[in-house]
Point group: C2
Chain length 333, copies 2
């Protein structure tokens, strides 16, 4: 029996969508037990008689986006997130934690309660995005670490490569460094120093790539400091939204286009499915922690929670933490 | 008579597209004289008898992307770009320079030959992009300045605001700081310090915005260091390309969608026109120089050169350089 602990009160759609997502995962995976942390009475009412392989742990407090992360983890001892972290820490048989709560608090909790893999100073988030080809791409770090050192980017590369190789069953993901040009001498001080480190790392480093290459399908793992990575990730999201919005607006303003759009339902569905890849994968694990922590988007729904739980199972089966440790060992050698 | 000097041998499609673009501008603007720098005999052959209000200045060398910018400006004295800069420098009646050559060389030439506006240490490039609403947005800096200080970002904001107000006849453009969150305390060290400076600057500063807001239509001038700005700009471009490519691929794979697409020609044209806004505006001026320098994309065609020349005329008529100087004066006061 595998056990996963879920923060039932993190996220905009908590607790109902989180709990229903957990129940979906429980139904789909017969060897899975879920521990839900949150307001016990409320959770009981939502779940009713559907309690098979579900354990409830009472936690009356909730950490919100307004809380200062480290202070909240220290002081809100009775919050759903802190209780979940305490359970993850104290029970070896719990393989991971899923939360859609405040990113800062999830990160702070992971560092303060679970700890980092030895040698990693900064855990990172690595969301998945679609490319224009068949493959997907991850960006690491996407915003958890704003002021970075070259060594952090080296670790991001190792962790991202290990993660991508598991999720896509890809032995040697193409790792690139986000830069303002492809030439080796390009970049700010950080990128130049990181480039030198990545060149001799035990990964498939394909050199510098520009933001333009992010969705080209030529990169599997894009490495960046959290500030530029966040600009790239969110700029990309914003651009996709903008193009779809311009498309909609234009269709509405031409009668013939409106007729055409009726024939194109399958295509619009294709696009929606493809660009929605991040949600399908259930958020991003916090790479670099001693145990698995998967952070989902605040606005996620039950299917995304299902995906997060399934991602936790996949990463556990394939020993993500061990693979990152191995990569660090290889680096030392 | 207004005079503009054009580097006829900069860019992938030089000299033909550059020269034809200059001739289009000459034909359209009866009070305009163009000075073309490049290989005189070749230029003569292209122009033939169409020499009205065209002056040719012989320059046998060409600066390429492989040249080290500052070394090229110093040593390739007989290159089309250096000759053009020398003319701009020596002739008060030449109002500006247009080039589609190496960005680094155009930037180095501007600093070494023309000089910066007093008080500005880093000239910047500010390309225009579409938003999902009616308005356009500029990003400054987009890659000319990779390692920045807070004061540079303050200057980018002043210059970007002055530029946007002229191009869009908009008295008080909304200036935002690119950041990894909208809260005031967010950001790396650079962004935090820049935020404090922008708050008290004589501009319409609307606070921090994320990459996601770039194309939302809620920002007119996005301020960033050149590294993150480049990631945002190129990530956006890449995402637009990716969505259009996914759309095309999906249409081809569904018979009904192919039929639908036949009805949607106007919509596809709308989208193409809207996302092509950067080219329509003819590249970006190098903001912060003592005289007007407009840099076009290396792959630009004749119509883009026409736009660059027209942009130079517009910025001259509206005294961009003077407006930036005024903004610096206000800042001091």
């Amino acid at each position: 029996m595998k056990k996963i602990v879920v923060d039932a009160y993190g996220g905009d759609n908590a607790p109902i969508e989180i709990i229903e997502g957990a129940l979906l995962a429980r139904d789909k995976h017969k060897d899975l037990e879920i521990i839900l942390c949150g307001k016990e009475e409320e959770m009981k009412q939502i779940i009713g008689s559907r309690m098979e392989r579900i354990t409830l742990v009472d936690a009356q407090e909730v950490i919100t986006n307004d809380d200062m992360p480290t202070i909240a983890i220290r002081n809100k001892k009775n919050s759903s997130l802190v209780k979940a972290y305490d359970l993850l820490k104290e029970n070896e048989d719990i393989i991971g934690l899923v939360s859609a709560g405040s990113t800062g608090a999830v990160l702070a909790g992971a560092i303060m309660k679970i700890g980092r893999i030895k040698g990693i100073s900064r855990p990172a988030l690595a969301p998945i995005l679609p490319t224009k080809k068949e493959s997907d791409v991850i960006i690491i770090d996407s915003g958890a670490n704003i002021d970075c050192k070259p060594i952090n980017l080296l670790h991001f590369a190792l962790m991202g490569s290990a993660y991508y190789s598991i999720v896509y069953n890809c032995p040697s993901p193409r790792v690139a460094l986000l830069n303002n040009g492809v030439e080796e001498e390009k970049g700010n001080e950080l990128a130049k120093e990181a480039h030198a480190l990545l060149k001799s790392a035990p990964i498939n480093f394909i050199g510098n790539k520009e933001g333009r290459d992010f969705m080209s399908g030529d990169v599997d793992v894009m490495v960046a400091d959290g500030f530029a990575g966040n600009a790239l990730l969110k700029g990309t999201e914003g651009a996709v939204i903008a193009v779809m919005s311009l498309l909609k607006k234009s269709i509405k303003s031409h009668f013939l286009s409106m007729i055409g759009a009726l024939f194109m339902k399958k295509t619009f569905k294709d696009i929606k499915n493809r660009v929605d890849i991040l949600n399908k994968h259930g958020g991003s694990p916090l790479l670099g922690c001693k145990k698995l922590v998967v952070k989902n988007h605040g606005s996620c729904k039950r299917n995304n929670i299902l995906s997060s739980i399934e991602q936790t199972l996949l990463l556990d089966e394939n020993n993500l933490v061990g693979k990152i440790e191995d990569a660090l060992e290889k680096l030392k050698a």
